[in-house]
């Protein structure tokens, strides 16, 4: 079933599907009848101008918003209305546009916290500490160290993340999401506010994550150019409605998209 892409990655069946999502706040409709799917192993982008409803869409997937209509299907099952932490436990990790890290905690602790859904020893063992809980800690620390190595953030292992520059904080946040070993990684404008070099680094990491761990990634991005190079398929939203859906090339040549989105920039 899996169809390899040109560069040898495997794209599998549908991992997540949203069907006819409508979300409104009071009388204002943020999303109207949106449907699309995300396939296993792909990099999927959701783009659109400011206020198009990209973040709302992401918040629906990660359980922060509950749509008035529509369904979210994850791994072949219809999802009941869930709280964000339950969504996280199902295997969906995310980052935020304005970074939501534990600022007072070290990079290492942030990443270790990311593994919380994989740690199962109960309070009793934790209180005793020696034995099973300690072994569990060590095993998870090892996983986290691999991520630290992967992202090249050894130097800031013990630094409270609040003290780090913006670009590094973004990287730590990605690291925390990676630590969760999620089936689906949602990235909310991962490149926002970065300089060119940092953007290139981040692109590299996103591609490497997808390639190395086979993680499915859905990302929101404002920067058209970045998205086109990065993603396998793109959904375009505008004023809460779906404008187009397809490969970067198809989307780029779609007249509606050119008018609504590219037209603005040019």
């Amino acid at each position: 079933m899996a169809e390899p892409t040109q560069d040898g990655r495997k794209i599998g069946g549908t991992l997540l599907e949203v069907k006819n999502i409508t979300l409104s706040f009071g009388g204002v409709k943020a999303l109207t009848d949106i449907s699309f799917d995300i396939k296993e192993g792909e990099i999927r982008a959701i783009i659109g101008p400011n206020g198009a409803g990209k973040s709302s869409m992401l918040n629906v997937i990660s359980g922060f918003y509950h749509p008035q209509q529509g369904e979210v299907w994850f791994r072949g099952q219809k999802r009941a209305s869930m709280r964000p932490y339950e969504v996280a436990r199902q295997g969906i990790a995310r980052t935020f546009q304005n970074i939501a890290l534990f600022k007072g905690m070290s990079t290492l602790d942030n990443l270790m916290t990311g593994r919380i859904t994989h740690m199962h020893k109960n309070l009793f063992w934790q209180a005793i500490w020696k034995g099973p809980a300690e072994r569990e800690e060590i095993a998870h620390r090892e996983r986290v160290e691999h991520i630290i190595d992967f992202l090249g953030i050894q130097a800031i292992r013990k630094t409270p993340v609040g003290r780090l520059p913006y670009g590094l904080q973004k990287r730590v946040e990605l690291g925390r999401a990676l630590a969760a070993e999620a089936k689906l990684l949602l990235l909310d404008e991962p490149m926002a506010g970065m300089n060119l070099e940092e953007k290139e680094d981040m692109c590299r990491f996103i591609l490497d994550v997808n390639d190395e761990f086979g993680t499915t990634i859905a990302l929101i991005e404002h920067d058209m150019g970045v998205v086109m190079d990065l993603s396998d398929r793109v959904v375009v939203l505008d004023y809460g409605k779906k404008l187009a859906d397809g490969t970067p090339n198809e989307v780029r040549n779609d007249p509606a998209v050119i008018e609504a989105y590219l037209g603005v920039g040019h």
Binding site: S62, F64, R83, P84, Y85, E86, A88, R89, A93, R94, F96, A100, L101, F102, K103, G104, M105, D109, M112, T113, G114, I116, T117, M119, K121, L123, Q126, A127, W129, A133, E136, E137, R176, A180
Partner: protein, 333 residues
């Protein structure tokens, strides 16, 4: 050493020991404040309630005996000789955990995303409810608490310190209550255990994570409600320890709930968000008020202990409103 110096030392030592008790109460406040942003006015009442429950178990009181007697015309008071102290403590911890669970289920659940002032009002309501409920459950009479901790003066310490004084000065030695010493010991142990727990366990890390950023905690899969139950349970246990200590010292009675007020200046001094702050703040206030009473108190007609802490807190508010260890308050425009 001269007797005067030894006297000052004695005052300071007693101040430190008293300070530990203040710290203990303040600690409960800080834990809940950090994890949920709630200033829990009920912390003092929780200490009273925990102490009442413990004594109730120890003496084998029947809960709600008063109500039962009124309703059914019976005269039941106790159901037996009571349970051993150790078991009573375990049972009380169970009750405090149950209480934490109920608070989350019945109250906090509905209060998510409310303004801090509303949450604060909620805890005031909670405090008055618990006070009444405690009375109803265990009766309003003053009880004595005895959990088998040593009390009274330490003669060993008295004779040792007496020998430090200069020959022939007739210095009687320092008076230190063993109860205070053991309270301090237990408090230190509690803080060490709590610190280790929060640094090196998954749940500890989750607690810190929630204290740091709610939204981020949610996305990594931490259930806020579970954490709140855990935090309120820990605060309940801290309240129990505080209740035992203060109860053993001055009896289990309504005034026990007022120790919450003593914790307020400690928090102002140490900062609402800092555990080390709560400890250091408590020690400073303890030593400060004892020394002040000893040196200047006489001139002011005594009983300065009643207001010194608040005066110091007021002074602090003017110069360092975030407290000694608190996070700097930065107004964002």
């Amino acid at each position: 050493m001269s007797p005067e110096l030894l006297n000052v030392l004695e005052v300071m030592l007693n101040g430190l020991l008293a300070g530990v008790m203040y710290s203990l109460v303040a600690l409960g406040f800080v834990l809940i404040y950090k994890a949920s942003g709630i200033f829990n006015y009920a912390q003092g009442v929780m200490a009273l309630f925990a102490a009442l429950t413990l004594v109730g178990f120890q003496t084998g009181q029947i809960p709600f005996a008063h109500v039962i007697n009124t309703m059914f015309g019976t005269h039941v008071e106790t159901w037996g000789p009571g349970v051993p102290t150790f078991l009573a403590i375990i049972l009380t911890i169970g009750v405090m955990v149950l209480f934490a669970y109920l608070v989350e289920r019945v109250v906090l659940k509905h209060m998510v995303n409310q303004a801090p002032i509303i949450l604060f009002m909620t805890t005031i309501g909670l405090a008055y409810f618990m006070e009444g409920f405690g009375d109803l459950m265990w009766g309003a009479d003053i009880k004595t608490m005895d959990v088998g901790l040593p009390s009274g003066a330490s003669t060993w310490f008295e004779t040792t310190t007496a020998s430090w004084a200069a020959e022939g000065s007739n210095y009687p030695g320092m008076y230190v209550d063993m109860l205070d010493v053991s309270a301090a010991g237990i408090a230190i142990l509690l803080v060490v255990v709590l610190t280790l727990f929060s640094q090196y366990t998954k749940t500890g890390r989750a607690l810190r994570a929630v204290a740091d950023d709610h939204q981020a905690a949610l996305t990594v899969g931490i259930s806020l409600r579970t954490i709140w139950v855990i935090v309120w349970s820990i605060a309940g246990c801290v309240a129990l320890v505080a209740g035992i200590m203060w109860g053993a010292k001055s009896g289990v009675q309504f005034s026990l709930s007022l120790i919450a007020l003593k914790a307020l200046p400690v928090l102002i001094l140490g900062g609402f968000t800092s555990i080390p702050g709560a400890i250091v703040g408590g020690l400073i206030i303890g030593v400060g008020e004892k020394l002040f009473e000893y040196s200047i108190g006489g001139m002011l007609g005594g009983a300065t202990e009643n207001w010194f802490a608040y005066g110091l807190a007021l002074f602090f508010l003017m110069f360092r409103p975030q407290g000694l260890f608190g996070e700097r308050i930065i107004e964002r425009v």
